[in-house]
């Protein structure tokens, strides 16, 4: 009876995951979809705790088994503590810090999978099949854990430059082969716990080596990839226990995450192998593009105000700089006041603007920009020739024409927003430093471009005041 109920709770949970994820694909139903998934998860967790039946190693039910109170106390204690900390962190985090938080939560899931492996190892020394799933789940979970921590450190700025050992691709491949062979050896020979801990340590090192050389601009792809890794680790747990909800949840995230990763790579027009093994920033940045020369043109706030006020159509290109300066509310104010003056305002959203795909949408939605004003790249590009003013705020690489016309540039071939087709381009930047990918931008030297230097929030606030006074 109990086990049938447990299976039922897992079935309900699995269905909510699938339906919930599907609902999250539409802005209207997305929030309900997320809550549905959360409800299914709660049912599955409660079912696991309260419908538990102890079985022997051969799967025979042990009747009248009572789980010691201390174990329940620890489980509830951990859930309570985790809920409080997780809830508060998620509620308090600033929207700009969200990508690193997702990365951190992903790492926690990976670590959880790794710990399950560490604990189950000794109970399964004689089942090669079970041992294989344990080791696979543990290694993948561990790599996801240490990789996510590095991604977190990179996103929050603790680790600024990609660190590249000489011949890092060769080293990484050797370490990866080492992890796989070591893991296979552990499965075959079932050695003592010491070797399992050693494998755990090597997997941590591999996760670090895997993520460390990847440049900041590629972090969204890496997080998405590590996300699907953790899904895979959860699925291996499902194999081990023949647990259907871990399997559905894990595989669902594994395959959905992989697809999402590929979609992101496509948006940047780079194959995934190029992201993992390729070179972005670092060495390549110094080459090729430093040759750009020419003069740049300054513009002040009052001239910008006049220009925008008397335009018919303004397109705003937001980038990570907008997020850093916390200028999303001011930009909405600018949009409102321009609309009041009869100017048509749209936002051009590059698929990889910000630090995660869709990051800009989330950020602008936070300041109440309606989402039909956010136009995706393919739809806005044909509109630039009829645009009077493009205002680029804190974006750089996504408007860099080198992607079209400089084959030596690391971003060559990436689809960009063709802002140079507009009549005027105003670029707000703090200084002339290069973008996140570390490459120069010839757009700034375009005769149609004027540079509006200063902190985004500061400058935009002044701009709004100036337009109001016109």
């Amino acid at each position: 009876m109990k086990s049938a109920l447990l299976e039922l709770s897992y079935l309900i949970g699995s269905v909510t995951f699938i339906v919930g994820l599907k609902m999250m694909g539409n802005p209207k139903s997305a929030r309900k979809g997320n809550l549905l998934g959360a409800a299914g998860m709660t049912i599955a967790i409660l079912g696991t705790i309260f419908l538990f039946e102890k079985k022997t190693e051969d799967g025979v039910l042990i009747a009248d088994h009572v789980v010691p109170g201390i174990i329940y106390a620890l489980i509830f204690g951990a859930i309570l503590l985790g809920t409080i900390v997780g809830w508060l962190t998620a509620k308090k985090v600033q929207m700009t810090k969200m990508p690193e938080l997702v990365s951190m939560f992903n790492g926690m899931g990976g670590a959880c999978a790794a710990l399950i492996g560490l604990m189950e190892y000794q109970h399964n020394l004689h089942h090669t099949g079970a041992l294989a799933t344990i080791i696979a789940g543990m290694v993948i979970g561990t790599v996801s854990f240490s990789g996510s921590i590095i991604a977190y450190l990179k996103l929050n700025g603790t680790m600024k430059q990609p660190i590249r050992l000489p011949q890092y691709n060769v080293i990484n491949t050797i370490v990866m082969a080492g992890v796989v062979l070591f893991g296979a050896w552990v499965v075959m020979t079932a050695p003592s716990m010491t070797f399992l801990y050693l494998l755990f340590a090597v997997a941590i090192v591999y996760g670090i080596l895997f993520t460390v050389p990847i440049g900041g601009a590629d972090m969204p792809v890496v997080i998405s990839l590590l996300n699907s890794f953790t899904g895979l680790a959860a699925a291996f747990g499902g194999f081990l226990y023949d647990n259907k909800i871990m399997l559905t949840g894990g595989i669902l995230v594994g395959s959905a995450g992989t697809l999402l990763t590929l979609v992101m790579c496509k948006a940047m027009n780079r194959p995934l192998s190029n992201v993992i093994f390729g070179a972005f920033g670092g060495g390549n940045a110094a080459e090729g593009s430093s040759a750009i020369s020419g003069s740049i043109k300054d513009i002040n706030v009052s001239d910008t105000a006049v220009l925008m006020n008397y335009s018919k159509k303004v397109v705003i290109v937001p980038g990570y700089g907008l997020a850093v300066a916390q200028a999303q509310h001011v930009i909405h104010e600018l949009e409102t006041i321009l609309e009041e003056r009869g100017v048509e305002v749209k936002y051009a959203i590059h698929p990889v603007a910000g630090r995660m795909p869709g990051h800009m949408n989330v950020l602008l939605a936070e300041s109440n920009v309606s989402y039909d004003k956010l136009v995706e790249m393919e739809d806005i590009n044909p509109e630039f020739p009829s645009t009077d003013v493009v205002l680029v705020v804190g974006a750089n690489d996504v408007v860099n024409p080198a992607a079209h016309n400089d084959p030596s540039s690391p971003i060559y071939g990436m689809p960009i927003l063709d802002v140079e087709n507009a009549s005027h381009i105003i670029v707000n930047k703090r200084s002339m430093s290069a973008g996140y990918a570390g490459i120069e931008n010839e757009l700034f030297f375009n005769p149609k471009t004027s540079m509006l230097f200063g902190d985004a929030k500061d400058v935009l606030t002044k701009l709004v005041a100036e337009i109001k006074s016109l």
Binding site: F17, G20, L21, M24, G25, N26, K28, A30, R31, N34, G37, M41, A44, I49, F52, K54, V67, I71, L74, A78, I79, L81, G82, G86, W87, A90, K91, M95, F105, N106, M108, A111, C112, A113, L118, M119, E120, N227, T230, G231, G238, Y241, I245, M246, L247, G249, G250, I251, L252, G254, S255, A256, L260, A267, P351, G358, N361, S370, Y371, E376
Partner: protein, 101 residues
């Protein structure tokens, strides 16, 4: 060769299950607008927190005198909860902003 074939026929149901799940995962994500990529990634992140079910299961089977296992199990459940709760709450916060005005 024969052992591989045996393995496949023994786990036939499981293999069907896995393959179908993979397709469901791909199908569910297909055609999602870029606007929703970040919340979707975050939502998927919360769902793989289902690994906590495994952590709870291990914990329920732990020998209560094995203190190392108790500590590791506690940590596993704690980390899993962080993944689940944090993941769903942060996704909800993102999606809250998409509501129609």
């Amino acid at each position: 060769m024969e052992s591989i074939l045996n393995l496949i026929s023994e786990h036939r149901e499981m293999i069907y299950f896995v393959l179908l799940s993979v397709f469901v995962g791909i199908e569910v994500i297909g055609g999602v607008p870029t606007v929703l990529h970040t919340p979707l990634m975050s939502g998927a992140n919360a769902i793989h927190g289902v690994v906590i079910v495994g952590a709870i299961y291990v914990m329920l089977n732990v020998d209560p005198t094995d203190y190392l296992a108790l500590a590791l199990g506690f940590l596993a459940v704690l980390l899993g909860t962080l993944n689940v709760v944090g993941g769903f709450v942060v996704t909800d916060r993102m999606l809250e902003m998409f509501k129609k005005k």
